[in-house]
Each structure stands twice: as C-alpha cells, then as structure tokens.
C-alpha cells in the first residue's frame, strides 16, 4: 500500500491527486503501527497511530488550503506547471 501511494505521488499530475496518494502512504504506516501494537501487546503503537491520524488531518487541511491558494494565483494545479522553484 505504501508503494502504491509512492507511485501515485511520483506520477500524478494534479496536486490534489498527489495529496490523495500521500494519504495512502500514511494509512499504510498506521496499519503497520497498529499491527505491531497488536502482536506485541504494546499500546504505544495504537497511541502513535492515533496521533498520526490527527496530524494527518491537520496536514491535509493546510495542504489543500495551499493548493487552493496556488490555484487562485496561478490558475492551475498541475504539478508540471508549478515550476517557479525550478532552476
């Protein structure tokens, strides 16, 4: 699941599509955390996954707000066209 998300981040053109693929990667990590917590009897993995979910929600909110601002300024959200930082 992590590699599928990685593939999406690398190949998606739309910025929102990239953010969706990042969600997949974060979910894969959460599954890993919770399964370790289950099979080791340790509760720390579950708490870590809980915090990861909450932080991800905050990150998605800010990321989408940034995408909306970019669209307002540049009138496009295609990753190929957002190349102001390119040397």
């Amino acid at each position: 699941m992590f590699t599928i998300g990685l593939f999406g981040v690398l190949t998606r053109r739309n910025a929102v599509g990239i953010l969706l693929a990042i969600e997949l990667m974060l979910n894969a990590v959460n599954i890993n955390l919770v399964s370790f917590a289950r099979f080791r009897g340790d509760l720390g993995g579950v708490v870590f996954a809980l915090f990861a979910i909450a932080i991800t929600v905050a990150e998605v909110a800010v990321g989408l707000a940034i995408v909306i601002v970019i669209f307002r300024v540049r009138k496009t959200v295609e990753a190929d066209h957002l190349d102001l930082l390119r040397g």
Partner: protein, 163 residues
C-alpha cells in the same frame, strides 16, 4: 484458515484494489471515492487488529473529514465547470520501477524475519488508551491541540478571499 485470516485476506484485496484505483484512475472525483473505500478498508483492518476505537476514529476523521476536504478542494480547483480532469501521467515507467524496487526491498526484509506465534486476543483497549492519553501521553495530546489550532488558523488565513 481461520476466519480472521480469511477476513483479513478479503479486506487486503479490497484495500490493494482501491489503492491502485486511487493512483491510476483518470477522473479525480473517482479517485476520491476509491480513497474513501481504501480508508474504510483500513478501518476494518484496525477492527481486525482489536482496535475498535481506532476504527471509529478512522471512519470519523479520515473517511468523513479528509474525503470531504478533498472533494471541496477538487471542486474549488477545477478550471472549467464540468470538465473531466484527466490524469495523463508522465514518468509512469520510472515511477513503476522505483515502486517495484521499494516493494521488493520491503518484502525481502519481511521474508527474512521469523513470524512468532499469535498472542491471545486482548480485551478492548479503549479505556487503556484513554488512560494512556491522560497519563504518559498528556503532553503530546496538548501539543496536538496546539497543532490543530495552528493548522486551522493557517488554513483559514490561506483560504481567505482577497479583500
């Protein structure tokens, strides 16, 4: 094949199929729908892993919140009303090779580790999570609150219309 293993196999198939659909589909709205399916499947995996609390949190925050946010963002960043956003991706071959290499590395690492016996299923850990959050993990909880407020203010400020 225990019932739990069969259930996990079914959920895993749904999860992988939904993930592939998220990154490969042409219509971005469909990608968000498939992401919602993948997130619900992840919640079911949490349920199979004896974490009903995380299942509920996942459904509420992820499948409810993140999907809503993504739908709004897609609606606000579509150039023409009704235009079908196509996703003709370049660098597909490069991305596929990189991801296949990463997957091979992870699976190879997993194959080398011995799989121990399955521990007995534990009782519902939700009260223990609550105790942990208000005890040893109280500081991260407060910091998380600060982070959420900061994210809220930041998103609000970024999304303000130009006055």
């Amino acid at each position: 094949m225990t019932g739990e293993a069969v259930a996990f196999g079914a959920v895993a198939v749904v999860l992988v199929a939904a993930s592939l659909a998220v990154v490969l589909t042409r219509n971005l709205f469909h990608a968000v729908i498939y992401l919602a399916v993948a997130l619900v499947a992840t919640g079911v995996v949490f349920l199979l892993l004896e974490s009903p609390f995380l299942f509920g949190v996942q459904l509420l925050l992820y499948a409810g919140g993140v999907v809503t946010l993504a739908v709004f963002a897609i609606m606000l960043t579509e150039r023409l009303i009704g235009e079908r956003l196509t996703q003709t991706n370049r660098f597909i071959a490069n991305g596929a090779i990189v991801c296949a290499a990463v997957l091979a590395a992870v699976l190879g690492f997993l194959a080398g580790t011995p799989s121990g016996p399955l521990p007995a299923p534990t009782a519902d850990a939700t009260p223990a999570i609550g105790r942990a959050l208000s005890g040893p993990f109280a500081l991260p909880l407060e910091l998380l609150g600060v982070l959420l407020v900061a994210a809220l203010l930041g998103a609000l400020h970024l999304a303000r219309p130009d006055d």
